[in-house]
Symmetry: C2
Subunit: 216 residues, 2 copies
């Protein structure tokens, strides 16, 4: 599994970031530590501090790293709503690619250069909606709410997240919380695609209604 025996290739920001991303997906965000990362890299913990002044700086670099992998915006020749539709599906695909890291990315300010570049292009897309500037910004924000909530649920939420230490037994569930018991099958990962699609198409329908209302 680890590779500390052979003469080690030198450290570098890139190598550290890649190992960190791998380790986070392997052991989870909570179990990720500088010391474990160092052991995985075959070096001492403090050596990492030669490349990143703190763990926070490293985590910022990870955000930048993964955002850089995001797909670019859909073909500008497509109708606006279709571009938004595809951008949404793209975001979801990008975001769920590193499930254990997403909860971190999603709950931190995205102020790194590559994250800002992505934000900038998304805001540009929404600026082409034809809505007043304030509304286009708010609409982008609202769309982000949905995409963020969906991503978080799929990576860290009801079906995946840390559970209570003593879950409610099945028979109590069925008796006291019948609606939850009946809905549970639809909360499972196999249903994520269908649920996301319904929600996203609903949101898009709302956006078209908003545009129609403003044009009138």
């Amino acid at each position: 599994m680890t590779a500390k025996e052979k003469a080690r290739e030198p450290l570098s920001r890139e190598r550290i970031e890649l190992a960190a991303l791998e380790l986070i997906e392997a052991v989870g965000l909570g179990e990720f530590s500088i010391r474990k990362l160092a052991s995985e890299l075959g070096c001492e913990a403090m050596s990492i501090y030669h490349y990143f002044p703190s763990k926070d700086h490293l985590m910022d670099a990870l955000i930048d790293h993964v955002v850089a992998e995001f797909a670019s915006l859909p073909d500008p020749a497509l109708p606006w709503i279709e571009r938004v539709r595809r951008a949404g599906y793209d975001v979801r695909r990008n975001v769920t690619r590193r499930p254990n890291l997403f909860i971190f990315v999603g709950t931190h300010r995205m102020n790194t250069p590559k994250a800002l570049a992505w934000l900038n292009s998304m805001l540009g897309l929404f600026g082409e909606s034809g809505l007043p500037h304030a509304e286009s910004v708010r609409l982008f924000r609202s769309v982000s709410y949905f995409l963020m909530g969906a991503g978080l649920d799929e990576t860290a939420g009801y079906a995946r997240g840390p559970s209570t230490v003593e879950p409610v037994p099945d028979d109590v569930m069925a008796r006291d919380f019948p609606e939850v018991a009946g809905a549970a099958p639809f909360f499972r990962p196999a249903q994520f695609d269908a649920t996301f699609a319904l929600g996203w198409e609903t949101m898009l329908a709302g956006i078209e209604a908003l545009l129609a209302g403003r044009r009138r």
Copy 2:
């Protein structure tokens, strides 16, 4: 501020939970620890373990505690879409009342009894939509995505969350990321209400479109 001098009233689950909720809002989730909580309560850290077997158990109890404070569902006499509308605004109000805790609640399974009761009632509401069962569940889930994303953004996101250690300077922002610079004013807390309202009404419009489509 603290009250350790006087002869201390005895510990209890309730007293510990209240102190924990207060401490979390005072110092933040990351700075919250059993040891600090004990010091605030005027006892030793291990004393808390007499009432909660682990920190995770305590955190679960906190989820239960805050969910129990949630408002009940809107008047059943109202039209369905109006009940959903109000439930959404209620959720947002409830959820942002303890900003520092919400990021924890929002990213953990809600399997405690009171959380399940709340889930159960919300699912009941969506079951009255007239949609097929699978769709009503998925719609609830999608709505949750939006509400969760909005709550997280308002409590831990772009305007509030931990920032990069070296933010991009203003002049670079204006030059390289003009869309972000232009949108920034609308990302500020003062704009949260307007942004949420636009997004939620958009979502509701989408839901009405969905219902209209299914009825046809």
